[in-house]
């Protein structure tokens, strides 16, 4: 019996902390508090209790004639008033309540699979990027970054409507279905583009929202180059097949009209040159990579090294190659040579 009492004290101890806290400072809750130890009804005072004899009788549960079960969930005070003890469940914690334990268990189970996929996602991810980029192209206008495109697609809401405007719009709703359709389509595009950009962002490309149509084209071309260079030696047709602008189209058209073979061949080579030129231009404009030249001492007649890319410069300066400090400037500018110690090449990569 006394053992039970000890147990009960423990369970009440869960809320004991808060009772003790309130005792020191009088608060609103303090009228619920009482000194449990003094006012407890001794279990021996409950008369006529019996030990349980049989638990079940023909499948029906028999409750023994004693207060044991009740004492587990609460206690009696001196006057015989039964009080449920504040057990742990009653201590409400919003955060704990909000945890979706089902989900946590699921991820625990799925944890192994996830790590496995992590290992092997290098190659498919790369392929994915290419398709994502080409999908993104459809939403962008020339010279537009993804941020701007998103603003264009989702931004026409502008300011929130006043209630009067909203009422008006509701009234006119039947008339402006065309506009609605366009807005709905914009919204769809907006969501699609956001999704794509987010995928790239999660892939680790933090600059994705700053990418323009030209930059995307350039990236796509880089993929193509990586894949095609070995198989296609100086033949434009395959390149053109992957070229978004499809320079090849002109040639096909010419074929249809019936120009002689030599002529088309000429055109083909011209196309080849054109696309190459375009590519070069893309490389200089859209990548806007900064090249550097440097000299070891800040003298007029010192030999100038370079040009080198920002990546190279960053690597060298991080490796301590420029420990004593070199003097560098951007290629193409007529600016003075700055000490490499004050230039953060990371900004230019």
């Amino acid at each position: 019996m006394s053992k039970r009492k000890v147990q009960f004290d423990d369970s009440a101890g869960g809320s004991g902390d808060s009772t003790r806290r309130f005792k020191e400072k009088h608060s609103l809750d303090s009228d619920e508090e009482y000194d449990e130890k003094e006012e407890l009804l001794d279990e021996d005072d409950i008369e006529g209790q019996e030990e349980g004899t049989v638990d079940y009788d023909e499948g029906i549960r028999i409750t023994p004639f004693n207060m044991r079960e009740e004492m587990e969930e609460g206690h009696f005070d001196k006057d015989g008033m039964y009080i449920f003890s504040k057990d742990k469940n009653q201590i409400k914690d919003e955060w704990m309540d909000n945890i979706d334990w089902q989900k946590i268990k699921e991820t625990e189970d799925g944890g192994k699979m996830e790590t496995q996929s992590d290992d092997s996602d290098d190659e498919p991810e790369r392929l994915d990027l290419k398709s994502i980029y080409s999908q993104m192209l459809e939403y962008l206008k020339p010279g537009e970054t993804i941020t701007k495109a998103l603003r264009r697609l989702g931004g026409n809401k502008g300011k929130p409507m006043s209630s009067a405007q909203r009422w008006k719009a509701k009234k006119q709703k039947t008339e402006e279905t065309e506009e609605d359709e366009k807005a709905a389509k914009d919204r769809e595009n907006f969501l699609a583009l956001t999704g794509l950009a987010d995928k790239v962002l999660q892939d680790g490309n933090m600059e994705v929202y700053e990418m323009t149509l030209e930059k995307l084209n350039y990236e796509l071309k880089k993929f193509d180059k990586g894949n095609k260079r070995v198989t296609v030696p100086a033949d434009a047709t395959d390149d053109d097949a992957l070229d978004m602008f499809a320079d090849d189209f002109d040639k096909n058209e010419a074929d249809k009209i019936g120009k002689d073979f030599e002529n088309t061949n000429n055109e083909d080579t011209k196309d080849d040159k054109d696309s190459k030129k375009q590519e070069e231009k893309d490389e200089t404009t859209s990548s806007n990579e900064v090249m550097w030249e440097f000299k070891w001492a800040d003298k007029e007649d010192e030999e100038i090294h370079g040009p080198h890319s920002s990546d190279e410069m960053l690597k060298w300066s991080e490796e301590g190659f420029f420990k004593s400090g070199v003097f560098c400037r951007k290629v193409g500018t007529q600016s003075q040579f700055y000490s490499s110690r004050r230039i953060d090449f990371d900004l230019y990569t």
């Binding site: 500018t333 007529q334 600016s335 003075q336 700055y338 000490s339 004050r342 953060d344 990371d346 900004l347």
Partner: protein
């Protein structure tokens, strides 16, 4: 020359100029048009405004006409240049000890463009403090 650059005439305009520009660095010159130091600076600003138009925009503020920021930004020099990007003040380590602003007149256009470009690149990468390519600790007043 300073008439060619846009002036801001009250605190609200200054706030809006800083707030509304989303893609470029906002350069604000605090001072007086008639001040010789400012005249030199404005000349430099005017020369580079066109070259920097893709990544920076320049405004001039008369600190007598618009005294709202004098206390907050400690504008007690004849000429002060401050940089903002997306409503955030961008600090520059010029080697002078005061990273908040350029408080002298710069004459070298390319030098100033280089600083602004560094500010722009740094700010776009989320830096609040960038290092100017040149160390000004030995030059000018300090």
């Amino acid at each position: 020359m300073s008439y060619m650059l846009q002036h801001l005439h009250n605190g609200w305009q200054v706030d809006q100029a800083i707030l509304s520009e989303e893609d470029r660095v906002v350069i604000i010159r605090f001072g007086h048009d008639w001040d010789p130091t400012c005249m030199v600076m404005d000349e430099t600003l005017y020369k580079c405004a066109e070259k920097m138009k893709n990544f920076a925009v320049i405004f001039l503020v008369d600190i007598s006409e618009v005294p709202d920021f004098n206390k907050m930004y400690e504008l007690y020099d004849p000429c002060t240049i401050m940089f903002f990007y997306r409503n955030k003040h961008i600090m520059i380590d010029l080697g002078t000890g005061n990273n908040n602003k350029i408080n002298w007149a710069m004459e070298d256009v390319q030098e100033f463009i280089d600083i602004v470009e560094t500010v722009f690149r740094g700010a776009r990468k989320g830096r609040g403090l960038v290092i100017s390519p040149k160390d000004y600790s030995t030059k000018y007043r300090y």
